[in-house]
């Protein structure tokens, strides 16, 4: 994708690769005879590459297709078109039965730790369920030990196997969810806003846990969030999404210190300044209006309705995700230009 990145990462095959992934949900009217009156264009042509041991951050505001992308990547939803490859194997068109073996390699961590655990199962049952589904992974006699080991790995006491989810705090429940996802030793973990439902103090603990697990197990993460500072901390590369499309893609430093897309600049300018002395000394970009409906997105560049740089060209042509003449990383804008919005100067 990126020439420079491509060279740096040449050689190893990506563990997770999406090429032109599209997901459109039909909007139907009528009770008996259903007719399709439009499509929700949740994800519209996303290219991603994730290498072993790396973290790809995906940021964007609510409704931009982040969670749909997560479902596509773990094979919960088939893409409308495009391809999703896990360890080089296409999963987009697999039947429900044949996809089961792929499930071992890519797992999902959920946003809400309160609904992602079955309230009527003990922690031991929840974490041990992957072994019961894939019976050949761990022999029956060794399963209790494997469950305890997993709990220990995520920092929970192995004595807690007989407790129920409601006896745990949000952070602990998220750890249970992570232990369940790790049971089958996946290569890729897709984390769909794993910390946004937690207290800030707990967020740090869970992020640290994810980083430690990455070092120990060589996991690759797709880390979806709307919190830019969290993503900056954990991600090697960042993709910024707007209305189902990636608008800017680059390393953490490229995105955070040298943003080139107007949308990225607007997002970053909204990050709170930690130093009260410097507050108000930074350029703030306030976007007008709301995100347009994904059923009927604007022609050309999807961001043009809220962009201060928009011209006629933006309405007629769709900007590609290109590095451009003076750029350092791919940006989907005709007028991409670096602008410092993150550093407040007195």
């Amino acid at each position: 994708m990126n020439a420079e990145l491509g060279q740096a990462e040449a050689g190893p095959e990506p563990v997770l690769e999406a090429t032109g992934a599209v997901k459109h949900y039909p909007v139907q009217r009528g009770i008996v005879i259903k007719r399709t009156v439009g499509h929700v264009q949740a994800v519209d042509g996303v290219d991603l590459k994730l290498y072993a041991g790396k973290t790809l951050g995906v940021v964007g505001e609510s409704g931009c297709g982040k969670s749909t992308l997560a479902k596509l990547l773990v094979g919960l939803e088939p893409p409308t078109s495009g391809s999703i490859k896990v360890l080089g194997k296409e999963i987009g068109n697999l039947s429900a039965r044949r996809i089961r073996s792929v499930r071992r390699d890519v797992q999902l961590v959920f946003q809400d730790p309160y609904t992602s655990l079955n309230p009527r199962m003990t922690v031991g049952d929840i974490v041990g369920e992957p072994f019961e589904i894939h019976t050949d992974v761990v022999p029956r006699a060794k399963r209790p030990a494997a469950v305890k080991e997993l709990l220990d790995m995520v920092g929970l006491s192995p004595d807690h196997v007989n407790r129920y989810p409601h006896q745990f705090s949000g952070g602990q429940r998220q750890r249970i969810g992570i232990a369940r996802a790790l049971a089958l030793r996946p290569q890729v973990l897709v984390c769909d806003e794993p910390v946004s439902a937690l207290d800030v103090s707990i967020q740090g603990q869970v992020i640290n846990l994810l980083e430690r697990l990455q070092d120990e197990l060589g996991l690759a993460y797709v880390f979806i969030a709307h919190d830019l500072s969290v993503v900056r901390h954990i991600a090697d590369e960042v993709a910024v999404m707007y209305l189902g499309k990636v608008v800017e893609y680059g390393t953490g430093a490229e995105i955070y210190d040298h943003p080139r897309h107007p949308y990225t600049q607007a997002l970053l300018s909204a990050v709170p300044v930690p130093d009260p002395e410097l507050r108000g000394h930074r350029e703030e970009i306030v976007l007008q209006g709301d995100v347009p409906s994904p059923i009927n997105p604007p022609s050309g560049c999807r961001f043009r309705t809220r962009c201060w740089k928009a011209t006629e060209k933006c309405a007629d042509e769709v900007p590609g995700l290109d590095v451009g003449d003076h750029g350092t990383h791919p940006t989907a804008c005709f007028y991409a230009e670096e602008r410092d919005v993150t550093h407040a100067v007195k």
Binding site: S116, N118, G155, S157
Partner: protein, 307 residues
């Protein structure tokens, strides 16, 4: 690991099983003990009627008809006699077994049918849901007595051979056919609500098959609203059975049931023989109360959130 390890809480006491804990919780509640005693009494009456009466309910002497139970629980006729001179205590006691067998069989069959159809309709949706839901509508609008008459014509030829099966068979079929809809609707609604929760998605993501998702994840959570209506439905079944008896497809004579006794008793209740109506009614109310209390307590005791 250091800073991440959750502080070792007090090591859990060796966890008793869910059922053992449930039993302990229930044994502490006086209302549950009372309900259990009533259920034991009723079930013993159903299983061993001769422990409670040595009279034959079919041995009736016309000149002893309508003796009020002046000597309560003692004497020749502890609960008096009915309109035909049969011993009323014997009638009530021997009517227990058909009543209980009928109510429980209908209950179990209707719940199984309702649960299975409801969970299939809710989980798969689409044409299967449409089919099951429309069938449900048809059974709800169909008047039960009309349907029962149709069924009656099917059993007319059989005749009663006196066994328990042929005694309660026709009413069991009629009541089941018209009794599963409520459970189906509750289960379907709860399934639709549950199937989009994250823990079901998580199971799908792990590669769980539909059957595991339906019976391990959805059913235990969808069954809760169903358990709430089971006890009162048992009472409803017993009462409705008496209406079927009028049509001749209730419990087949000479066997009798509380429902039949209730129906007959109303004729005499106004004439000063209120015990013919009151005693079966008291038994029915007591049994329904016991089922309701017991079921309620069992549900609470088994709910992990309330432990």
């Amino acid at each position: 690991m250091s800073e991440l390890t959750a502080p070792k809480a007090q090591p859990d006491a060796p966890q008793a099983s869910l059922w053992k804990d449930a039993f302990r919780t229930m044994a502490r509640r006086p209302d549950v003990i009372f309900a259990t005693l009533i259920l034991l009494f009723v079930f013993t009456m159903a299983a061993f009627p001769t422990l409670f009466t040595d009279k034959d309910p079919t041995y009736c002497i016309g000149r002893d008809a309508r003796q009020r139970p002046d000597t309560w629980f003692a004497g020749e006729h502890p609960l008096g006699t009915d309109g035909f001179g049969c011993d009323f205590a014997a009638t009530v006691v021997h009517g227990t077994r058909p009543t209980i067998v009928l109510a429980l069989t209908v209950m179990i069959l209707a719940v199984i049918i309702g649960l299975v159809l409801g969970i299939l309709a809710g989980y798969y949706g689409g044409w299967l849901d449409a089919l099951i839901s429309r069938a449900l509508d048809v059974f709800i609008v169909l008047p039960m007595l009309l349907g029962a008459i149709l069924l009656l014509s099917l059993f007319r030829n059989g005749g009663s051979s006196g066994g328990l099966l042929s005694t309660v068979g026709p009413p069991v079929i009629a009541l089941t056919v018209f009794g599963w809809m409520e459970f189906c609707r509750y289960t379907r609604a709860a399934t639709i609500e549950t199937k989009n929760l994250d823990y079901v998605t998580a199971a799908k993501c792990l590669g769980a098959k539909d059957r595991r998702i339906m019976f391990r994840h959805i059913l235990p959570n969808a069954i809760v609203p169903v358990t709430a209506v089971i006890p009162t439905t048992i009472g409803g079944i017993i009462v409705t059975e008496s209406a079927l008896a009028v049509l001749g497809i209730g419990v087949q004579p000479p066997a009798t049931s509380w429902g039949v006794l209730l129906a007959k008793g109303t004729e005499w209740a106004g004439g000063g023989y209120i015990y013919l109506f009151g005693i079966p009614l008291l038994l029915l109310i007591g049994t329904v109360f016991a089922f309701a209390t017991f079921g309620d307590a069992l549900r609470d005791a088994l709910d992990p959130k309330l432990r």
